[in-house]
Assembly symmetry: C2
Homo-oligomer: 442 residues x 2
């Protein structure tokens, strides 16, 4: 059926940039429409970002949360998947510009290009406090976290050992909270039997937030619960103190210097440069301001969705940068395109609060659906089942369920691999100590 | 019990370098002995190398075939796992030298440092024809293979497209045969529905071997069967032609140039520099010549095992560089150390042929136990079950079984991820073509 439609002499050409939740959902929803779709992404895989922190903390394998885009669309003859990097839009000539000089002509364009982590004008902090947006970011963080424990095991100087066993997460949104809770569990439950010279339970996990509470997007009482849960896992929660410096030695906040060898940035995002491509108005985080039908002002043939746009929900608050919001927008845009092809129009996009979830270690989660709120063990089970449900494909569901079962029952984490670096990354500078000899087991 | 023994005032210090099959098996077998063990590896994980080609061909995830070494030894209080790189042995003072200047004193030393791929004096070929020894090698090959298909999908020049769709494997030992068969299946069964502009079934997989037959270590009739099986999968088998040049454009053999953008080196290994560390006699491949009790001549306190040694089996043929041989040697050395501590000696090491197995795509494998030989579907089932059995831990067995089930039933491969590189690795040079426009689906 779709093949037949694609064989229409001049199908309406839709180019979708970005195969995240928004772009992929739009592609799925356009099934059956008389269109020819080109879906462009600079990665070959769709990434289930909500679980990326579990790759960074060695709980899941990379392939359990990422799927080849073209595989997901293999049965859609009218969809061409393109592994390429977009670096501009020529709106006058209705063309997308690729970084290798090629161009893609469109009748309708959907920009779903997402966001990346931002350092508020301090990009020089990135090498010391990497963020978490891609699979490589996750394996980099995993390597840094695991190597810190390895270096601590060989370090004899108490101050240096303490700095190696101090993990600082900057920013207490869902990603920061989930990372802090999981690193605390890794140190407290998973690693202790494996080390001989250090007690990993003495590791410090410090979560620093400039605002007044953790999980600012959630209801007050859930924030309080999340904070107490983190503290019960041993996480030190620091509120109301912006970070003023990140370096190889640690982090400065509220006038104090904390010596820490592992910093993780979860404090903010900046939109992809879609607004710059179009020279269109954007907010301070670079997010495109779009019309109520999610088109870019002055460009009725260009939609923008997901983390790269700023739009207010029915309650006047900004629509959050979460997967369900991007998917709702992807569906809306696909429906709008189909309606236009029928000569119809749709009412403006209406965001339905699809809830926010965050996990804080084993057995604890918070769920905020606005009217419906939940916390504790039941919330944790709902969180777990929901995330398995939202994974794509039975195989991934089975494999993630097995990985989680082992974390749950045995505190084993599936992917404690240090890759892209042999022991040399442990670094001689910190461990070379003429007096140092490997201590014997006692 | 082991704790008690480790608390002996002066336990016998065993240092084991390398946590591959040999070193790990020796460590396991020393359980209960009155020794203090330090196991050093420059990786944090033990790698199940026989399945590494399945990571390279996207069938398995990295974490399914690798386990943190310290996790495997967490219950052994007398074992200290050290994530460090050895770069020498000071035999006179009975010390192992680490690259960061630290040293490890030993009473008995076991060198189980393995081998790496060798280019017979042509190290300049390595960038064009990478080998397969580490997890990073596997993800690099996976990226190259998958990117070649992506580039071909965007290439309009027929000659360049053909070169992108030509995969050359140099060397027809088990690794070369298994890689060739799996890449052929990937192109023939897994990828076709995913691409729009190319027919991946037209990909050429060329296996080039300098010797007269594939799987030279197997019986003649199994070699013949393996070759026929490869050919039935569409692999072109070239025998008796050594490769004389590898470059960015392809490979030269028997005076002919074959244009190919993906070359894989499976033609030879060289031992790790253990012989150099000891200034001890070695064969042309750098393998230590050891005494019948696997000690290094002149060094009764230094054992060497696995791929870094050359030793003849009872049939006079060299003991092959396979996991079961390394494990047998690890067990023998552990038993010898225990016997010495009791004041006893053991008879010389006796290699028992534990058989060779190779898989050639779905449903076909060869098994050669010397007297017992098997090929075909039953051999393939035995191969599959044996490999799942030899994996460590129930979780990995379940997850690998699930991954294989999906390959078996649906030709889906779990880990088709291009990592460590966005679409930029596709490379503008080969695809930039002013006349090129993305073709529409037809």
């Amino acid at each position: 059926m779709t093949t037949e439609q694609a064989q229409l002499p001049n199908p309406h050409r839709v180019v979708i940039v970005g195969a995240g939740f928004g772009g992929l959902e739009a592609t799925f929803r356009l099934a059956g429409a008389p269109v020819a779709i080109t879906l462009v992404d600079r990665r070959n895989h769709h990434l289930f970002q909500p679980l990326l922190y579990q790759v960074a903390t060695a709980s899941l394998a990379t392939s359990e949360i990422a799927w080849p885009i073209r595989y997901l669309l293999r049965d859609r003859a009218e969809v061409t998947t393109l592994f390429a990097t977009v670096n501009g839009v020529d709106a006058a000539n209705k063309r997308v510009l690729l970084d290798d000089g090629d161009t893609l002509s469109y009748d309708t364009l959907i920009l779903a290009t997402g966001a990346f982590h931002a350092y508020f004008g301090h990009d020089e902090w990135e090498p010391f406090a990497p963020g978490l947006k891609t699979l490589e970011d996750a394996t980099t963080l995993r390597r840094r976290i695991l190597v810190a424990f390895e270096r601590a095991e060989r370090e004899t100087d108490p101050a240096r050992r303490a700095a190696l066993l101090t993990f600082v997460i900057v920013g207490a949104g869902p990603t920061g909270v989930e990372l802090a809770g999981t690193i605390a569990e890794l140190a407290r439950d998973t690693l202790p039997p494996d080390f001989r010279n250090i007690d990993t339970q003495h590791a410090r996990v410090v979560l620093i937030e400039a605002g007044p509470r953790v999980l600012a997007g959630f209801a007050d009482d859930l924030s309080t619960y999340a904070q107490r849960s983190l503290e019960s896992l041993g996480v030190e929660v620091v509120l109301g103190k912006p970070v003023t410096e990140c370096s190889a030695d640690g982090v400065m906040y509220g006038g104090e210097q904390l010596a820490a060898k592992t910093l993780i940035w979860a404090a903010g995002v900046r939109a992809s440069p879609a607004a710059e491509w179009l020279n269109a108005p954007a907010d301070r985080a670079g997010r495109l301001q779009v019309d109520p039908d999610l088109t870019v002002p002055g460009h009725p043939d260009i939609f923008a969705i997901g983390d790269t746009v700023a739009i207010a929900g029915p309650d006047g608050k900004p629509v959050p940068g979460i997967a369900p919001a991007a998917k709702q927008q992807g569906r809306y845009v696909a429906d709008t395109i189909k309606a236009r092809l029928r000569g119809e129009t749709l009412p403006p996009f209406h965001y339905k609060n699809s809830g926010s979830l965050a996990q804080i270690g084993k057995h604890r989660a918070v769920i905020d659906f606005g009217t419906f709120k939940l916390r504790g063990v039941l919330a944790w089970w709902i969180w777990s089942i929901a995330h398995i449900y939202f994974l794509i494909g039975l195989r991934n569901r089975l494999q993630v369920a097995i990985s989680w079962l082992w974390v749950y029952l045995r505190d084993q984490r599936a992917a404690r691999l240090i890759t892209q670096g042999s022991s040399k990354v442990v670094g001689p500078a910190a461990t070379r100590d003429p007096a140092y000899k490997i201590s014997k087991p006692d």
